[in-house]
Symmetry: C2
Subunit: 332 residues, 2 copies
DNA sequence: AATGTTACCGCAAACGTTTGCGGTAATAAT
DNA sequence: ATTATTACCGCAAACGTTTGCGGTAACATT
């Protein structure tokens, strides 16, 4: 277990001062090109790498971003993180990923750790139980920008990047109308989630406006299993009127699909099916499920550029909405 | 953007020395309980939190583990990470997650970053193209233990924690035999992957020994789509003999299931289906798919205890295999 | 009264950087 | 020949901790 090379070691070997080595390594104009050459060569040779702890202690900049998500087993977050990482790499930042397990306590711990580590910025999808956003604002005071994404707080003046819930719900609804369904079941998530309210409200609005005579029923499920049960009990025995189901999320869709398979029904013939998704789950079935896309990747790109703006100082709180688009499967 | 509280600030306010504050905060016996009380109260009040960079600079210990995986959109890795995090939290370690995107270049960068940050240890599932393991051994020299899991190198003398590929393949094969299938299709992954070889070899061995007259066919697919195509073309038109399909992985299973849905076949009646999986994908279908479980969670627990052993110094390279168990769905 | 113990506490160096400032020698301008 | 300019380079402080060592006062022991 040998020691890591330091500026000091290089300085001693070359009979120059530590400051000279430090400056040479970052191409400071005060140092002659001759000296620079010597120093760089030796540094290369002994594989010198600056100690990030010392740098941070001195400069208070960590050059790393934190991404905090409730869960990792989620294609949406995964593609969000990919997008962030792509951009961060280009700017010389690294990104560390935290997982809150949807537990506000753990979330707080993570936040604390981010503060201690003086991360350069935080991207966070808050837990569904997060109510107190004071700690987040506090981070901003400490000079650490916070970008909320996907799951964002109600609070107005903070940076939020969200999927276009209303838009996604409306294009799904429009597709249902376009295909001429008269009997529609909408399955939504937990009533208390803001995402549910947004999607539900818009979905109903578009439906009602599009066709006042439609037979529309909406229900709420808090889990995949509940969605399965609801679907099972709410699919009419005789599908005389053209019947369609809208699933607000992947979780709901998974449950509903299980029920559909159980009843041995085949979209799009027996019934129409459409959801809102990032695309992973819909692609597992045949025919693939048609869905309004919520792209984690897009969101990531948007979030990153927002972050850069914050870091450069020229920022005011802003909410950005990513519009979604219809991805055609064969389920409706 | 106000400054963070430091030992110095506390010391000044209380007219004691920095060393006294430092010691008081860690309950050093040299400090009177009276002084300790004062200091702790003030520290609490102004929310003092030690600067991890300063600590690391001084002590060279980071109290954090790195977990490096090729991908995050993977239930298996997700549960592995959960297990590590659970244990790490108890021991006062935090864990940071890195994603190599299955790119050896990025993997190298991550390794480098881990070295710079002097992480306390690394858990890594290497990329499928990683050939040079010298950098890993070098980390060990630097005093950073490396535990390989899931995707591990061939090299003998390192710490490896793997799923029991042979065992999983054999219990799946036994289940097929037990249910009396005479016509079996085994779909495996890329021929070059060691995991494929292990599972294939054992699967065939058990099959042949169990029933020499069985009609067994094995194929290889490098993607989900390929698995779908293969399944489509290899399912007999007339399923007179009892027919079963074995899918080596989730990826394969996803493709195969699409083909099965496409052909409107229903397990377990039309054909038997069994896989090796962590359990996420199998639960999406009805009936749920029966599978030999490879538990990321178990692996994580094993890996962590191995890590602790390494850190305490009492370690020699060792390979640990986690045996799998059959999880009953209704597909066979 | 001199010495030994004990209980507290502070000094100062060290970890590896960065950076403002000042210094020296060589060269250019007066 | 003096002064200004330039090109290089080093000193030293600072970032926030930890920790060995030494010091002082109070008390207990001879």
């Amino acid at each position: 277990m040998r020691q890591n090379p330091t500026l000091k070691k290089i300085a001693e070997k070359l009979n120059v001062s530590i400051s000279t080595v430090s400056r040479a390594l970052k191409d400071h104009p005060d140092i002659s090109s001759e000296t620079k050459k010597k120093i760089n060569e030796l540094a290369e040779l002994i594989e010198y790498d600056p100690n990030p702890y010392a740098i941070n202690l001195r400069t208070h900049s960590s050059k790393e971003f934190a991404v905090v998500v409730p869960s990792l087993s989620n294609f949406f977050y995964h593609s969000f993180i990919s997008a962030i990482e792509e951009d961060a790499r280009d700017y010389g930042y690294s990104v560390i990923i935290y997982r809150s397990s949807n537990d506000p306590k753990i979330e707080q711990q993570i936040l604390k750790s981010c503060r201690h580590k003086r991360v350069s910025g935080i991207f966070i999808a808050i837990t569904s139980e997060t109510t107190d956003i004071a700690p987040f604002l506090k981070l901003d005071i400490h000079g650490i920008p916070v970008i909320f994404f996907d799951k964002v707080p109600q609070y107005e003046s903070c940076n939020k990047i969200c999927v276009g819930d209303e838009h996604a719900a409306s294009i799904a609804a429009e597709e249902i109308l376009k295909k001429g369904f008269r009997n529609v079941l909408g399955i939504f998530g937990d009533k208390n989630m803001s995402i549910t309210q947004a999607r539900l409200q818009k979905f109903m609005e578009v439906m009602r406006n599009g066709n006042p005579e439609i037979d529309l029923k909406t229900v709420h499920a808090r889990s995949s299993e509940e969605a399965e049960q609801l679907t099972l009990s709410l699919i009419p025995d005789y599908l005389e009127k053209k019947f369609a189901i809208f699933c607000m999320s992947d979780e709901i869709l998974a449950g509903t699909m299980k029920a559909i398979q159980r009843k041995r029904l085949k979209p799009p013939h027996d019934l129409g099916l459409i959801g809102i998704s990032d695309g992973m789950i819909p692609s597992l079935f045949y025919p693939e499920i048609t869905y309004a896309e919520t792209s984690g990747y897009n969101l990531g790109k948007l979030a990153y550029s927002r972050m850069m703006r914050c870091i450069s100082g020229s920022s005011f709180a802003q909410t950005i909405i990513d519009q979604s688009k219809l991805v055609m499967g064969g389920s409706i």
